[in-house]
């Protein structure tokens, strides 16, 4: 059976189910016309060029942070330390950017990206290494590493790296306007989106067409067999975790170099955690991450309009995200038997 089609069909079904469920909640709990709400959501997320750019801008960091979960997932590792890698990358980028701010913008940007990817990569590789060499659960360790990363960020931003003129919002020195990476020509969307899409395509190509990618799949299937076959599991774990962390670190660099111009507590606003959600919704498939991130970006972009027009609380979109997450996870049980289920549903609808 065509598994790609099955994947898309099952995911679409799950999305539809969550839309219906959310609509019921809107109707009976919030007393809002769900059709009006969905029309507003469409308007806020995709309805105009401005709205679509809003969606893409919000999707950009999610694409990069999602890779931090998706790549190690290929090896059967459950990494949820995306936020930590992003924060580590952001602080490293700001520190590097300030250090080389006097050079040419291109050089400064490259140095910032390299520093961010190295910091983020090392952060997640640490979790992967602990897992492989010391048997520490990588899910827990990567989550705890996030708290350490945020504490370190606060320490650096409020201490050694602090710009003394940032009185009430401690920040690093600015990297300088000239070194900012700006927006993709003709749009309002920063370059982080392009970085994310390129990274996803690269990851897909590596996973699909290289022996390294194939080895990842083998290790994910059964690490013991992989070891018996002579695969260096440790190296693959470190590289995959490092690459995932580097992607999240790059997201931190983009936040610094395209949005804030400096590092401060605004780095840790949950892009990393949202990335976990994106990766799971995309079933850890690098290419599927892109549309899923855009979908979640759209939900985020439309949240404001729901608040303003329908007086819904901010929690409304969080509830929708939660419903989608649960529906997608629950839909995993449909794989392999989805055809039977789909037929049944079709038959029921026909009645």
């Amino acid at each position: 059976m065509n598994t790609a089609f099955e994947r898309i069909a099952v995911s679409a079904l799950a999305l539809l189910a969550s839309a219906v469920l959310f609509g019921l909640l809107l109707t009976f709990y919030a007393g809002v016309d769900p059709l009006e709400a969905y029309a507003l959501m469409y308007q806020g997320a995709f309805g105009s060029w401005f709205s679509f750019q809003n969606t893409l801008t919000r999707a950009a960091p999610l694409i990069l942070t999602a890779l931090c979960t998706a790549l190690p997932a290929r090896l059967g590792l459950m990494i949820i330390g995306n936020e930590g890698a992003l924060v580590a990358g952001g602080v490293a980028a700001a520190a590097a950017g300030v250090a080389v701010s006097g050079t040419t913008p291109l050089l400064a940007q490259l140095v910032m990206a390299a520093a961010a990817m190295a910091a983020g990569g090392a952060w997640i590789a640490l979790a992967g290494g602990l897992r492989h060499y010391r048997g520490v659960n990588e899910t827990i360790s990567s989550l705890l590493l996030t708290y350490i990363a945020i504490a370190l960020m606060n320490h650096f931003v409020e201490g050694p790296l602090r710009d003394p003129s940032s009185l009430n919002k401690p920040s690093t020195h600015p990297i300088g306007d000239a070194n900012m990476i700006g927006a993709i020509g003709g749009t309002d969307v920063h370059w982080g989106l392009a970085f994310g899409i390129v990274a996803c395509v690269l990851c897909y190509l590596v996973q699909r067409f290289t022996t390294f990618g194939f080895a990842m799949q083998v290790i994910g299937g059964n690490p013991k067999t992989a070891r018996m076959m002579g695969l260096d599991v440790g190296r693959h774990v470190l590289v995959a975790c490092g690459a995932g962390g580097a992607a999240a670190g790059l997201a931190g660099m983009v936040e610094v170099a395209a949005v804030h111009g400096k590092a401060n507590a605004s780095l840790a606003v949950g892009y990393g955690y949202a990335g976990i959600l994106v990766s799971f919704l995309a079933r850890h498939h690098p290419l599927a991450i892109i549309p899923v991130a855009i979908l979640l970006g759209g939900i985020g972009a439309s949240g404001g309009l729901l608040q303003r027009r329908l007086d819904l609380p901010d929690a409304a979109v969080v509830v929708l995200q939660g419903i989608i997450f649960v529906a997608i996870l629950a839909s995993e049980t449909l794989y392999g038997r989805s055809w039977r289920w789909l037929w049944r549903i079709k038959a029921a609808e026909g009645r």
Partner: protein, 370 residues
């Protein structure tokens, strides 16, 4: 920069087009209302910083010819830029209040450059003449004056002489409140101390409760705080049977027995004034500040536990602040490490820029800024 401006204009055109479409679809309105956008960093009903703004926004909603749109829980990232832009493009907002401190730079400034016809007013003290555009501005209140009065009431009520202050971050604004509160308390009880605990962030309910509990265990019998939502601190203290002073807005409901008084914002005063100006076709002030005298801050009504003597002392200090005969920050003033921070004979008025960079805790505060 040039590149950015061309994009801005294009987006502006698109925005204008969609705003027009929206206006048409909404039908022929009798008169175009003044649309005002409010953006909050946390929930609107947090019994704290955001609620103080939302309460004032609710007053604006009742004014004729005014439409208020609100968004809550908007992080200090590109998200707030998009929220402002969305309010301008889709709702037709011409006056925007991004109320959180971190919204100013670079987010609000970026939007102000892109939408020069929209007025942006930011809560905080960051606007500088000559440096920032004229369609932006900031407004703020000297709430440490109200904190000083809270301190007097707290110092008069405390039996142990130990006060507690749960604070978010050791930044000038927070330090100023802790210092004013402590000095107020020590003006009536020279032996009073104030334990300051920094939680590290604006909204960490668990740490705030822990800090409150640990201070209660040390014998502290009046606590106050400077975090986004005082709810947890006030409720924890009330449950333990000790006294509290509120912050941001009135929390008397949360602590009917132990609530003494509190330092509250009165943003309504500023917002109504701004909106009246806008309706007359003018632009709101760029640098608006004031304290008790201007009515931008106020104190909560005294709770049942406040003695007549305490009220009298606080009221006396208040009239001194109101008529300008009393200054909170005057020398000789020592920090809690023994260094002189304000020399004898020096007295600072509230507008003094030196106070904006406060980086010390005064004598009597137990705790450290780092």
């Amino acid at each position: 920069m040039i590149d950015r401006f061309t994009i801005g204009r294009r987006a502006l055109l698109g925005g204008a087009a969609s705003a027009t479409a929206l206006g048409l679809s909404a039908g022929a309105r009798a008169q175009k209302p003044l649309v005002i956008g409010f953006i909050y960093v946390g929930p609107r009903d947090d019994y704290g910083y955001n609620q103080a703004h939302a309460e004032a926004a609710a007053v604006l909603k009742k004014m004729p010819g005014v439409k208020v749109v609100e968004e809550e829980k908007v992080p200090e990232t590109v998200a707030v830029e998009k929220s402002m832009e969305s309010m301008i493009n889709l709702d037709g907002a011409t006056l925007v209040f991004p109320t959180s401190f971190g919204y100013f730079d670079p987010h609000m400034l970026r939007m102000a450059a892109k939408y020069p016809k929209v007025q942006f007013r930011h809560c905080g003290g960051l606007w500088t003449a000559g440096k920032h555009p004229l369609n932006t501005g900031s407004y703020f209140g000297y709430i440490d004056e109200a904190q000083y009065l809270s301190g007097i009431v707290a110092g008069s009520t405390s039996k142990s002489g130990k006060l507690g202050f749960v604070a978010a971050k050791p930044i000038p604004q927070v330090l100023r409140n802790i210092n004013a509160f402590t000095m107020g308390a020590r003006s009536v009880n020279p032996n009073a101390t104030c334990q300051a605990i920094f939680t590290g962030d604006w909204s960490l309910p668990v740490k705030e409760a822990e800090a409150t509990n640990s201070m209660i265990a040390q014998g502290v019998d009046v606590v106050t705080c400077h975090v986004d939502s005082p709810k947890v601190v006030i409720e924890t203290a009330e449950r333990a049977g000790i006294y509290t002073c509120g912050y941001h807005t009135n929390q008397a409901k949360l602590a009917p027995k132990g609530y003494l008084t509190g330092a509250e914002w009165n943003w309504e005063r500023i917002y109504v004034d701004f909106v009246e100006t806008m309706k007359k076709g003018g632009a709101p002030g760029n640098f608006v500040r004031g304290g008790l005298k201007e009515g931008y801050v106020r104190t909560s009504a005294y709770g049942p536990a406040v003695s007549a003597a305490a009220k009298a002392k606080a009221d006396a200090a208040k009239s001194g602040i109101l008529n300008g005969s009393f200054a909170i920050y005057k020398g000789p003033l020592k920090d809690n490490k023994g260094n002189t921070v304000i020399a004898a004979g020096t007295s600072y008025v509230q507008t003094e820029p030196v106070l904006e960079g406060m980086n010390y805790l005064v004598e009597g505060v137990l705790g450290a800024t780092s």
